[in-house]
């Protein structure tokens, strides 16, 4: 499961562009994750410039 640390995220959309499943969406000033489409590949976690995403078991 991917968790967004909202206090770190600067809603830039970098993670959205690399998600192969289209599971992420920037809704104005927060990031939304569709848990039903996310395949837990962890790509978004890797590229975040601020480290706002965390993969949780």
């Amino acid at each position: 499961m991917i968790e967004v640390h909202r206090e770190i995220c600067a809603y830039c959309g970098c993670c959205v562009s690399v998600c192969p499943e289209g599971a992420l969406e920037l809704v104005d000033a927060y990031l939304d994750i569709d848990m039903n489409t996310c395949i837990d590949c962890g790509i978004c976690v890797r590229v975040c410039p601020l480290g706002a995403l965390e993969a949780k078991k």
Partner: protein, 402 residues
């Protein structure tokens, strides 16, 4: 409220604004919809643009230009500085903009030309009928409604999802996203008329650090790192913090900016039935520099020109819109993207030793005949080891792209 337009533009960045303005000037009814509450904010840009490129479309107006740039410095990993002066720096001689003002003024122009504009209104899905896009469902203030349009322009930037919903794969391979962090800093000792680029694997692997002045003692200081080189503890923000701790320990930070720039190949096709994709959404930012303002303006304007004709002819099928795709690909922009993609593929593999050798050898060259082909030939003849590293195939693709 009007629910039917000739053209619906999704996204209010430079690409969307320029498309909306062009369509409106040609007499079409246009709605530009932007999901954020304010156009251009937060900024996701270092705000540099080449003067000549900008003048192709616009004369700079009061408030847009934060600094005029006369030269560029490239700093090798060993600290050696190469100065690129005006006639040699090519498109690097330019402006550093105030994008909050610039982006808003462009949308203002579109509105002035007759386009309707809505903010805090997000496209949540396309209306698809018989394999063609017929507009979009918009969410405004928590409620959704349909807006139907003859032609829809996806200008939704790096986080583009609209064309994905219409069936075009827009995923950026993660090694081809340049992940970035930037501070707007003040109280720093800089040359107000020079941009600076620092390269090196320990300060910005697969990317570079930039200092783009925005007036006296003030600049955008940022770093971009290749997506595959980004790790916990070594993310862009970490590289940036280390850089400023060393370079500007007493600087003050006025703004934090994060972002991603695609440095991949453009989408393989940028049109579909009743749909055109422009700007970052089409992945047309420069793979080497990360610059995308010019490409957004160029593709936005071109989409307006080609799309208007298609609307007037009553045919907005993929085939009728194809001249948009083929025109930008064969233009100066398309060729530069192809060439710079090949150069980037080499650049990201260079060691600090290679980078030092290149910067030193370029600074010794007679740059009166400065063009990319000469530059590459010179670099390779001065650094034969580099040619070996590239291999025959690599060298051929690179030279073919010039």
């Amino acid at each position: 409220m009007k629910r039917e337009y000739d053209v619906l533009v999704v996204g209010g960045g430079p690409g969307g604004a320029f498309a909306a303005k062009t369509f409106a000037e040609k007499g079409h009814s246009v709605l530009l919809t932007e999901k954020r509450p304010a156009i251009g904010a937060p900024v996701r840009c270092a705000e540099g643009v080449g003067k000549a490129l900008m003048h192709e479309f616009l004369k700079p107006e009061d408030g847009w230009v934060a600094a005029e740039i006369e030269k560029a410095n490239i700093i090798a990993p060993d600290g050696f500085t190469m100065e690129l002066e005006p006639e040699k720096a090519g498109s690097e001689v330019g402006y550093v903009l105030n994008r909050k003002v610039f982006d808003r003024d462009l949308v203002w122009m579109a509105a002035g030309a007759g386009a309707d504009v809505q903010v805090k209104t997000r496209a949540v899905s396309p209306i698809m009928e018989d394999g063609a896009v017929k507009g979009a469902i918009l969410n405004q203030g928590g409620t959704t409604h349909e807006v139907r349009a003859g032609l829809t322009i996806a200008a939704d930037g790096v986080e583009s999802k609209f064309s994905r919903w219409c069936g075009i794969d827009t995923t950026v391979p993660f090694r081809e996203i340049e992940t970035c962090a930037q501070y707007l800093m003040t109280g720093i000792d800089i040359d107000p008329n020079a941009t600076e680029f620092f390269v090196g694997n320990s300060i910005a692997p697969g990317g570079y650090v930039w200092i783009f002045p925005k007036g006296d003692k003030t600049a955008n200081v940022g770093v971009g790192v290749g997506g595959d080189r980004c790790k916990p503890g070594s993310r862009p923000v970490d590289y940036l913090n280390r850089f400023i701790a060393r370079k500007f320990p007493n600087g003050k930070t006025l703004e934090l900016i994060a972002g991603g720039v695609s440095v991949c190949q453009p989408l393989s096709c940028t049109v579909a039935n009743n749909l055109m994709v422009v700007g970052d959404a089409a992945r047309v930012s420069d793979p080497l520099t990360g610059g995308g303002i010019y490409a957004a303006l160029y593709t936005g304007k071109l989409a307006g020109d080609v799309g208007s004709k298609a609307l007037e002819d009553g045919d907005t099928s993929t085939q009728a819109l194809m001249p948009y795709d083929s025109t930008w690909r064969s233009s100066y922009l398309g060729k530069a993207l192809e060439r710079n993609y090949q150069i980037k593929e080499v650049f990201i593999r260079l060691s600090d030793e290679d980078l030092n050798a290149i910067v030193h050898s370029v600074s010794k060259m007679n740059l009166s005949d400065f063009n990319t082909l000469n530059l590459i030939k010179n670099i390779i003849s001065a650094n034969p080891k580099l040619a070996i590293k590239l291999g025959k195939a690599g060298l051929k693709t690179l030279l073919d792209s010039l």
